[in-house]
Amino acid sequence: MEQERRTKVEQACRTAEEFIKHYYEGLDRRRNVMSRLYLDTATLLWNGNGIAGKEFIQKFFENLPSTDHIVSSIDSQPLTTGSTCHFPLTIVVSVSGFIAFCQEQPQAFQQQLLITAEGDKWKIVSDCFRFQEP
């Protein structure tokens, strides 16, 4: 049981670190592939604006001015309720850092992701982004 938890925790850490790398590299340099990181039915909340479905999320990002992200912290946990886990292979990731639009002054942001395994790929179920200061 404890060993099983350990395996899940380690997997959550590894997945979070790799996923975050792909995510911000994608957003900063290869926006056209962003939708691949999302479930078909995913939701993005961007400073309180709700966007549903990966096609609309893709469109949203393509309309966003160009970005540069600097990540300062990552934390991650597996979803588990013990012996009867209702959420196999799902993790929650919390990120903070700085975002700059079009080389302007960077500002602090926080972001939370719920990520699940769909077949052999990790996909975002829910993506929640906010500036620290409006």
Partner: protein
């Protein structure tokens, strides 16, 4: 003559709250009021009722940019920022597991007062299986003279025995900006009527 390549930075408007359903809004509001009422009290013992037996809690610190005197030192021993904590055993140890351990850890953290009027609330998922609740806002450490803090916190909440319990709690703490510190605890809490039109996901802009 120059090239016309400069981009105008035009962003979607900043919206303080996004809640996916009226029921979700009701539950989230009640949950947050109860939770922070206990969390901001002198004894956090009763906070345990909010957690699942096997829940996880962890804390990560974001150091403010260019501020050497951030005074976040008292949180550093618990800082699980995976970019700094590379050792697998240490990552395990800093992920607090189980209701009793979480109560102990939360009781160790400095006593707080949260500015509920500063909260942003995002509830992208509210269904019979799961609630994904993300909040952020301002707080101070009540008995200490320290900078005003900014936090963001993520709760994964599941139904249990007619109520709800937290299975994941991720807390991120940093310092408030100068502007945020100035505005802290100056605004009254604005009650958002539950019957107000609740946004469903739309394409924006």
């Amino acid at each position: 003559i120059v090239f016309d390549v400069s981009e105008e930075v035009k962003l979607p408007p900043y919206v303080v709250s996004f809640v996916c359903s009226p029921e979700g809004q009701q539950v989230a509001k009640q949950f947050l009021e109860q939770y922070f009422n206990i969390y901001d009290s002198d004894n956090r013992q009763a906070i345990g009722d909010a957690y699942h037996e096997n829940a996880h809690f962890s804390l990560a610190i974001t150091l403010p940019k260019g501020d050497g005197n951030h005074k976040l030192n008292q949180y550093m021993p618990d800082n699980r920022n995976l970019m700094r904590v590379r050792d697998a055993n240490r990552r395990m140890k800093l992920l607090i597991n189980g209701k009793e351990n979480i109560i102990s850890k939360l009781k160790e953290l400095p006593l707080t007062k949260h500015d509920l009027a500063s909260f942003t609330v995002d509830l992208p998922i509210f269904n019979p299986q799961l609630m994904f609740l993300n909040i952020s806002g301002i707080f101070i450490e009540r008995k200490l003279h320290l900078p005003t803090r900014y936090f963001s916190r993520t709760f994964v909440i599941v139904p249990l025995g007619g109520g709800f319990v937290i299975i994941n709690d991720l807390l991120n703490i940093t310092n408030a900006t100068e502007k945020q510190a100035k505005a802290a605890f100056t605004k009254p809490i604005v009650e958002t009527p539950v019957t107000s039109p609740v946004a469903t996901p739309v394409v924006s802009p």
